[in-house]
Amino acid sequence: MRPWRSIAAWWTNFRASPREVRKERCIGGALMLTALSAISGLALITAFIFKEGVPIITKVGLGDFILSSNWYPLEGEFGILPMIAGSIAVTLGAMVIGVVFGLACAVLLTQFVRPGIVAIMKPSIELLAGIPSVVYGFIGVVILVPFIRDYLGGPGLSVLAASVVLGVMVLPTVTSISIDALQAVPRSFREGSIALGATEWQTTHGVVLKAARSGIVAAVILGMGRAVGETMAVIMVAGNTIDIPHSLLDPVRTLTSNIALEMGYSAGDHRKALFATGVVLFVIIMILNTIALTVSRRRAGKAQSR
């Protein structure tokens, strides 16, 4: 009874309101509908992944699924520990490279150069995001992998190769969000520090970077999300071995490459196990995004209380 009555009330109210208001309501409703359809798409995908993936996790047992390193899907053994380890190794490697270069770049562009140079350099770094990942993978295979094989040893396809390629790929994310965070630091902080006699570098690392810390953390975590989720380039340069890597030169398989490699062939439980791999990936990325959101929201809260 309740919903019906409220709909009826809404309708009388709607008819009673003037023409202009009715028109605006219609437009608002239409926009709401488009927004909802985007969200319901997301909801459907989530529901589907979980519906396909969760039964096999309960069948195998969560502990066995996540902590066993035996992945023999055709014989009914589904352990994804090597892939989890692979994803973590490759992501950490990528973050070391991406954060060092990305942050350095952001500091340089916001603190030490003329705005004219920023206007050229910032868009060109952001352009890196527009290069398709296959191209990164291809460059990795053709140039980086033989280089590693010839000069550092091992098969070349390795954690190191994947980290470098991913590191370059997360650069634009890390750099541009860090730049935003650094630019959001009020000028007065910087001016005050310089006025107190601090050098430019002391000001940068002692004041500006500290003030922008939460924004930078958000940049790093969003970059991490990108690195965890990248697939194509990783398949091409990581070697895809189902083994926990012991050195930077060992090949690895990540969660995403596991799905992409075997999806075309899989059937039955094997396919469900790949969806379950997707569930694990989904949870990891949700956690990362939540952390990024909370951190950046906390920053917004601080800014308001200032």
Partner: protein, 267 residues
């Protein structure tokens, strides 16, 4: 504002309507889906078929043996391509046609000093029990395994013919196509992989197995131990146009083409 909204809605409706309309229009092609090992050969045959049978079209897609079988089972494709023998549970559901025999070549870098190995040694190499080329009469270099992904027809055929109960070492690098295996072996002096004999084409060295070099003649005579069938599978009797393509593939003319490309005639 309202005008814009209406325009957008009409545009969306038009796109949806158009794609539905066009989607129904290309029903004339026979769809052939499956094994990436057979795909290049099927594409070549499809081209020749379209030349000699004007007005008939064949659409070839990859995806893998299992995907091909599933596509045939779900009527997504008229013909599924499968590069391994059917499994027991699949036998009742499909009608397989052997279109050719393919040798599985064990391939190494051209500079590798090893010329031949026994089947037992191949198994031990891929199981990870033999780890240095010295152990099979080569130079003192580590052996680097390259395998295909779980579910690949080539991998399944290799497992069945070579590994039996043993598992392929998990230290093996996994590549997702014959081409990727070839690319890796071509540039890595330590590597060993396996792939369709028809696709080796002289850039790699194929090892003799049990003293028999993998040649078309040795595959035909049955001396070379690693041979698998290339199958076209259909559910029930194929449609008329699918049958026309299958007949063409089995014709002496098409079989000669396959032989020229390095496969072995269907018996």
């Amino acid at each position: 504002m309202l005008k814009w909204l209406v325009a957008v809605i009409i545009l969306v409706a038009a796109i949806v309507g158009l794609s539905v309309g066009l989607g129904g229009g290309k029903g004339a092609a026979v769809s052939v889906v499956g094994s990436t090992s057979i795909q290049p050969f099927a594409e070549m045959l499809a081209q020749e078929f379209e030349k000699s049978h004007p007005g008939q079209y064949v659409e070839v897609q990859g995806g893998g043996s299992t995907a091909g079988i599933q596509a045939a089972a779900n009527d997504i494709a008229e013909i599924g391509m499968c590069s391994r023998a059917l499994k027991v549970e699949e036998c009742g559901l499909f009608t397989p046609v052997v279109i050719a025999q393919d040798g599985l070549a064990v391939v190494v870098h051209p500079s590798n000093k090893v010329d031949g190995v026994s089947l037992e040694q191949v198994r031990k190499i891929f199981a990870g029990d033999l780890v240095n080329w010295r152990q099979v009469g080569g130079e003192d270099r580590p052996i680097r395994l390259i395998t295909r992904e779980e579910g690949s027809g080539t991998r399944e055929a290799f497992t069945k013919l070579v590994m039996h109960k043993a598992r392929i070492s998990r230290k093996a690098l996994t590549q997702e196509s014959n081409g990727a295996v070839k690319e890796l072996v071509k540039h890595d002096p330590c590597a060993v992989g396996y792939m369709s004999l028809g696709l080796v084409q002289g850039e790699l060295k194929s090892l003799a197995v049990d003293g028999v070099p993998p040649t078309t003649a040795a595959v035909t005579s049955g001396q070379y131990p690693l041979v698998r069938p290339f199958l076209f599978v259909t559910t029930g009797p194929p449609s008329e146009r699918a049958q026309a393509f299958i007949d063409y593939v089995l014709s002496p003319e098409a079989q000669a083409l396959l032989e020229k490309e390095g496969l072995v005639r269907a018996k």
